[in-house]
Amino acid sequence: MQQHLETPAPAIADDLLEWTGGELRLVASRERAGGRIVFPPRAIDDDRFDCVLLGTHGKLWSWTIQRFRPKSPPYAGPDAFEPYAVGYVELAGELVIEARLTGIDFAELRIGMALRLVPLPFTLASGVDRTTFAFTPVEGDVA
């Protein structure tokens, strides 16, 4: 089991992230009729859906770079802005999920590259730290 030296900041939302054996997982819902997986997860009391944890590895489906600071609201990040990458990641057999991309040079982004889920520290404009999710390249992958 992986040990965390530092406890991550609280999740940015309830019922979104789960730590299983030290590993971050995303919470989603599977429709009982038909098996379709949906994200974000449905309300816990919606009995048409079961709660599921998504896979942690996928391939980049599309991407872009957010080069200007989004308007607030809804954006809650700090005033100081650095461009960041956003993408859709295909999780085989599950769904294609939108996420921040981290730990990669923008010039290296390629559709089809292998990615894995990681926690992403996110500081709100108020200075409060939260944890959200992102995908990062799998080391040694040649897209």
């Binding site: 489906w61 872009t64 809804p74 990040g77 956003v86 295909e90 921040r100 559709i111 959200t132």
Partner: protein, 381 residues
């Protein structure tokens, strides 16, 4: 069932008009449409209208006259104008009324739209972490499309270059200066692969269309076009839409493909019959992809189409002859009606410097918006 005709159209110039509210621009457009048609507000039996962020359309009766007419407000995001026309169309087609108005107007603050997650059924974290931007969606949709279908940045640049060239010729356009493809491609990158000049901006403007029954159109003897097909559709399973935290692994169609098919079927025509098209071009990628989603070409054929100038005003299928959203900006409530206005002006030979050559019989218009809605109208001269 009556056939339905557009017998008059008015527009308030798009762009920025300080000191004039969105609703006043709407009143301006209605008055212009009435005046051009030689009609009075008291002649109008009903109205459908809307804006996204410039107030309640039915308030316009204070300015236009308290005739007691039914005035239905429409709030349908980017398809507000298209939905207003859909309502007006059905009111006449059903035989319930003879003469009505569809009006749309808007006035947005500068910069990108700032939607709130709860309004779209989404959790706050989606907006808080910087993923709820229309610009990101459009960038990622064309990014994937380029990779699948071999579209190059040069084609993106050429679409914007055409839009601004058409805007130069258009009296209601906002951007009226030509910009060359190189400048467009080298302008500030906003959301890769799209640069600043490849996006339209939220703006201001208003459009009013007067719709009439077959009986009424004969009585009035005005320049008119017949509405052959009108369809509004929400998204089918497996589509890829703006504001989607996740999409289905099993890919499907789009609201545009199904609205398009419904309108063609209703009109009894196909894409090969269309002489002129106004396609949603909130950014250059949208125009490129919508050419295929509306059936005008196969995926990937856009490279050749655009390189050969086939979508220019003098091309085989002129697209966005007034410069589209790229040159006119996007006042949400008015934008879809602007497209129909443009087809009306083109098909009745009133488009002036931007008039497409030759005999134009069928005009096609298509608007798309969040959270996955499309409206298509086909008009015949």
């Amino acid at each position: 069932m009556s056939d339905v005709y557009i017998v008059g159209a008015g527009i308030h110039p798009f762009g920025r008009t300080p000191g004039r509210s969105g609703m006043q621009q709407g009143v301006f457009a209605v008055r212009q449409a009435l005046q051009r048609a030689g009609l009075e507000w008291t002649d109008i039996n009903f109205a459908f209208g809307g804006s996204d962020s410039a107030g309640n359309a039915d308030t316009m009766v204070s300015e236009l006259g308290l005739t007691g007419l039914p005035f239905i407000n429409v709030a349908n995001g980017c398809a507000t104008g298209g939905s207003a026309m859909y309502g007006a169309y059905n009111a006449i087609a059903s035989g319930a009324s003879d003469l009505g108005i569809a009006v749309g107007f808007d006035k947005h603050p500068r910069g990108s739209f700032s939607p709130l997650p709860a309004d779209w059924g989404l959790p706050d974290w989606y907006g808080e972490t910087g993923m709820m931007l229309t610009t990101q969606f459009f960038a990622m949709k064309i990014q994937r499309y380029m990779s699948l279908h071999g579209i190059l940045p040069e084609t993106l640049g050429a679409v914007a270059e055409k839009a601004f060239a058409n805007g130069v010729l258009t009296d209601h356009a906002w951007r009226r200066e030509a910009v060359d493809a190189e400048t467009i491609m080298n302008s500030q990158m906003v959301s890769d692969p799209l640069t600043k000049f490849m996006f339209c901006s939220p703006g201001e403007g208003a459009v009013a269309l007067i719709l009439a029954s077959e009986k009424k159109v004969r009585e009035l003897g005005l320049p008119s076009v017949r509405l052959r097909g009108v369809a509004v559709r929400t998204r089918p399973p497996g589509s890829f839409e703006v504001f989607s935290p996740a999409i289905d692994i099993k890919r499907g169609g789009s609201p545009t493909t199904i609205a398009s098919q419904a309108a063609y079927e209703m009109a009894g025509v196909g894409p090969e019959d269309i002489d002129i098209a106004q396609l949603q071009d909130t950014e250059v990628g949208a125009e490129i992809m919508h050419m295929a989603e509306n059936g005008f070409c196969a995926d990937g054929d856009q490279t050749a189409w655009i390189a050969e100038g086939r979508t220019r005003i003098d091309g085989a299928l002129p697209v966005n002859t007034d410069g589209g959203c790229l040159a006119c900006g996007e006042p949400i409530g008015a934008s879809g009606l602007r497209q129909v206005y443009e087809n009306y002006m083109q098909l009745t030979g009133q488009a002036g410097a931007r008039q497409a050559p030759g005999k134009l019989r069928l005009g096609y218009s298509h608007v798309y918006g969040a959270p996955g809605i499309s409206a298509v109208a086909i008009v015949e001269a």
